[in-house]
Symmetry: C2
Subunit: 258 residues, 2 copies
């Protein structure tokens, strides 16, 4: 079975790319980020036409995450649910196709040292606490999303240019390794230990033309799913075409399960 993650940067302005992509690639499960839409404004009809069901947590203007699947989806949680006063729609936790599937949109972090950066680090700590509290490394768990973390310099086309930016600081990379130590595995990297795979090119400064890419969209999976991993990749063509998202979809393929 195939799982895909895509930061669409507004689901409404990406519908004309999303619908054909779903129809052409038919992943079993899709997680989306940056819907930039409230639940009531989500284009349910257009997605239903493709044969996908939807579970989402929406928000006006910013954030918003969803799980799409061709099988029924049971929502387990729509927030980190830790009592924090945080209105940002950045996580949805679902049961679908025999898996526990989570869509996450990790805060970008603005600039190192900013309030936004503190929020990013805090959010990653809260996510780790949420894993400790509600998940187990032995269950079939896949967390896909825009992590806003390039785990290693191998994940950055021009590491010197991105050194100490919020996508690459030692602190966020340490948080990433903490998640891996908990029992999550960077699926695409496990399949392609040495490959330069990028999932995001900045709209600004002609990032795409200069292939100034980073790998910041990931699937993190627990051991039971890591053992079923057979393939992984990036649909780079989605970053080309017109009116693209700044992110390309990242997919993984698991043996069995449909």
């Amino acid at each position: 079975m195939r799982l895909a993650t895509w930061n669409v940067n507004s689901v409404r302005s990406r519908l004309d790319a999303l619908v054909p992509w779903l129809a052409a690639t038919r992943p079993d499960v899709v997680v989306l980020q940056e819907l930039k839409v409230q639940q009531g404004e989500f284009p349910f009809a257009e997605i239903a036409m493709t044969g996908y069901q939807v579970a989402l947590v929406g928000q006006k203007t910013y954030n918003g995450v969803a799980v799409l699947a061709r099988q029924p989806i049971a929502v387990r949680a729509t927030s980190l649910d830790d009592g924090a006063d945080d209105p940002q729609a950045r996580l949805i936790d679902c049961e679908v196709a025999g898996l526990r599937v989570v869509s996450v949109y990790v805060p970008n972090g603005g600039e190192p040292g900013s309030d936004k950066y503190a929020y990013k680090l805090q959010w990653l700590r809260r996510l780790r606490a949420w894993l400790d509290r509600t998940c187990a490394p032995c269950e079939a768990l896949a967390i896909g999303g825009d992590w806003n973390i390039a785990p290693d310099d191998l994940d950055v086309r021009y590491p010197a240019a991105w050194k100490d930016t919020v996508l690459c600081t030692p602190e966020v990379r340490r948080a990433w390794r903490g998640l891996c130590q908990w029992g999550l595995c960077d699926a695409a990297r496990a399949v392609h230990p040495e490959a330069r795979m990028f999932s995001w090119w900045d709209y600004r400064a002609a990032g795409l033309e200069r292939n100034d890419g980073l790998r910041i969209d990931h699937w993190l999976v627990t051991a039971p799913l890591r053992d079923r991993l057979v393939a992984a990749g990036v649909d780079q063509d989605l970053r080309h075409g017109d009116k693209p998202s700044d992110h390309a979809p990242v997919w993984i393929e698991l043996a069995g399960g449909g």
Copy 2:
């Protein structure tokens, strides 16, 4: 020779309609309104590609009028030039193809009784004074534009719905008749004395679907040109297609002259 007038409602967002329309219909002279662009931001290169030269008076956000032609254009005036402190770009007066061609964008007028309505009536009085001062009924003069006047109930699909709106008040119709009495002739109406011809359908309230149209875009011509009139019409298809202007082009055909 053929003259066309079109309120494009932003020349930049209408380029993909304007360029093919110029290429397909090749009018000798085109007058445009609501460019919504400063001179420096006008898409000169794209228009030049079609073989047209341009004279324009631009303004940020609002108004802006132009004359396009495949022959050289000599600009005579870019305002009513009556000493009024009026920064709005609503008139350009040119010499082209042996004619005097003027592009006008008459103020809409908001609501009857409003300041905007007073400005509309005042602008029409100033236009009449400008005619008296700078033009003569015996010269070959054609004034095309968005007049924001439906001269008669015949020019309104649902006259009761538009009665006493700023497009139809007795006062603006009186101003219109004053221009006709000066020596201008409503060209499209002269060619089609009884026809219901509409040039504008409101974006709102499904104006197009209900064919709730009005004829507010006109060519006014002096006697020498009236005597050469052979045809007139509206390119209604331009109001359909996607991302249309709310106005359709209105054209007239003169015998001789190219």
